[in-house]
Amino acid sequence: MSGILVIAEHEGGVFKKTAAELIGKAAALAGSLGVEVSAAVLGDAPAAELGAFGATKVYQVAGDFSSYDTGMVVSGLDAALKASGASTVLAAASFLGKDAVPRLVARTNGGQASECTDLVATDGSVVGHRPQYAGKVMAEVAISRSPAFFTVRPNSFGQPAATGGTAEVVAVNAELSPSGLTLVERKTPETEAVDLTEAERIVSGGRSLKSQENFDSVIRPLAEAFGATAGASRAAVDAGYAPHGDQVGQTGKTVNPQLYVAMGISGAIQHLAGMRTSKVIVAVNTDADAPIFEHATYGLVADLFEVAPKLQAAIESLD
């Protein structure tokens, strides 16, 4: 097996947390496989810095990538991959990882294991562990043809310590072929909160909130106290208490936080599908038999309207 290439995403020159996370993991895998780790960067960003997490070389593709275009991203990454000669590619299961990476897999006639939650070096190559059937089973997936692509759920490995030096930056000039789509408008949400799929802490509310006003006055401030992003069950979304984008579950977002607080959520299988890999789950529910308690690390049989303000005060008073 030749090297591992990490697709290091950045926004306006600031690397996303997944860049360090994946390079750190790649470095650990590469150590046991005896190969090198490189990174691919599209456009302007402080590429040499990625050496701190274990990338020896960074293939930096020149061009204007300030607005996302599938065609340009795929051709840029293709050129970086060819320049690196890597046989294994790691990327985050981000929009780019879902929109551009499979196209690149088809272009290079490779193979892809998506949304892995763990990567293991086995018999000289990387094997991905990934949930299927909405997390009801875990699959161990090997890729026998190169290039082998693994996309990884954010927060699967945590942030590595910056220990290495600087990476050698190799400039890549690629012919970038645009997709033919024209961006006419970009609508960003008003909140400053971290995206649910990348959040380390999430506080979610369910049907039991009974109104949007309650959701906004109970769940959102509690989330803020935790430094968390607010989420919702489908029942809460369907009832209009929270927008679609907040839905966690099989037909909503798949999240992977350190802490997931479920306030008045029953724990239906379709909701669990989106959050069962959370490290710590707190459930607050008046019904001691609610299925969510079977999955909770800490359970409170209590009225959420009583718990929320007290919990918020308790968290705010921590130093």
Binding site: T70, F95, K98, A100, P102, R103, V105, R107, G110, G111, Q112, A113, S114, V127, R130, Q132, Y133, A134, G135, K136, V137, M138, A139, E140, A142, I143, S144, R145, S179, G180, L181, V184, E185, R186, K187, T188, P189, G227, H244, T251, A273, K279, V280, V282, A288, F293, E294, H295, T297, Y298, G299, L300, V301, A302, D303, V307, K310, L311, A314, L318
Partner: protein, 260 residues
């Protein structure tokens, strides 16, 4: 206009999944099969496009011909005109790229001008097949679409690009669109339509019929084993009145779980 829709048939979301004897696939007996929920949005969008533009909606599946039951109920009975099922022993262990090759060849053979798919099949949760099809056809891809307006050959689409951010993009057909929640509300089949759907054509094709060989679809990806997820250790139910529980929770989150 020839409108294509990719439809996968998957276990119902409530199904309890059991692992089969080989340890690498699921036990299929006793499963209730449905059209994958995001594909239902894709079918509805295909039918609405036909209603607005006139044309024909063709469903494409790579799977056993027995899927025609679900394709009729969840596709032909809600306005699609015909289905093509690629059923070939060589597709047995196929990976996402193999499936994409078969679907793109079948769509090309039918002369499809626009293709809809679900954003993700809820069995393998791969999120890869439609983007691969777009690449193989060399068409633009618009992923995770929550609003779409097709006017002649031009379209305006809203896509969900993550972080709650949406982008409005314009382009022209042909293109591949993947359906996200919110795109539309799939209609229910009415009884006369269900009866009529029984007579609509379902073409079953082998790989050779669409110009592919077994080698073309050889899988790069192998599922080595399946296992049930490690159930977390039984959680701790906190006791006492609300104040006691809340204080204990804050302490545990900080000192034991170390997450705040």
């Amino acid at each position: 206009m020839k409108i294509g829709v990719c439809v996968k048939v998957v276990p119902d979301t409530d199904t309890r999944i059991k692992i089969g004897g080989d340890g690498a696939s699921i036990e299929e007996n006793g499963i209730k099969w449905i059209v994958s929920p995001y594909d239902a949005f894709a079918v509805e969008e295909g039918v609405q496009t036909k209603e607005a533009q006139s044309g024909e909606v063709v469903l494409f599946s790579v799977g056993p011909k027995a899927w025609q039951t679900q394709l009729r109920a969840g596709g032909l009975a809600v306005g699609a005109d015909k289905a093509v099922i690629v059923d070939d022993p060589a597709m047995g262990g196929a990976d996402g790229l193999g499936v994409a090759k078969a679907l793109s060849a079948a769509a090309k053979a039918e002369g499809v001008e626009v293709l809809f798919a679900g954003k993700q099949a809820i069995d393998d949760d791969n999120v890869q097949v439609p983007a691969m099809i777009a690449e193989l056809l060399n068409w633009p891809l618009v992923s995770f679409v929550s609003d779409l307006n097709i006017d002649g050959q031009s379209f305006t689409a809203t896509r969900n690009v993550g972080g709650g951010t949406q982008e409005v993009v314009t382009g022209s057909l042909p293109a591949v669109f993947t359906a996200d929640r919110g795109l539309n509300s799939p209609r229910y089949a009415k009884l006369p339509a269900i009866m009529k759907a029984k007579k609509k054509p379902v073409d079953v094709k082998a790989l050779a019929d669409i110009g592919l060989s077994d080698a073309d679809v050889a899988a790069a990806v192998q599922v080595k084993s399946l296992s049930l997820p490690v159930e977390r250790a039984a959680g701790r139910m906190l006791e006492g009145d609300v104040d006691a529980m809340v204080n204990e929770l804050a302490r545990l989150l900080r000192e034991e779980a170390k997450v705040i």
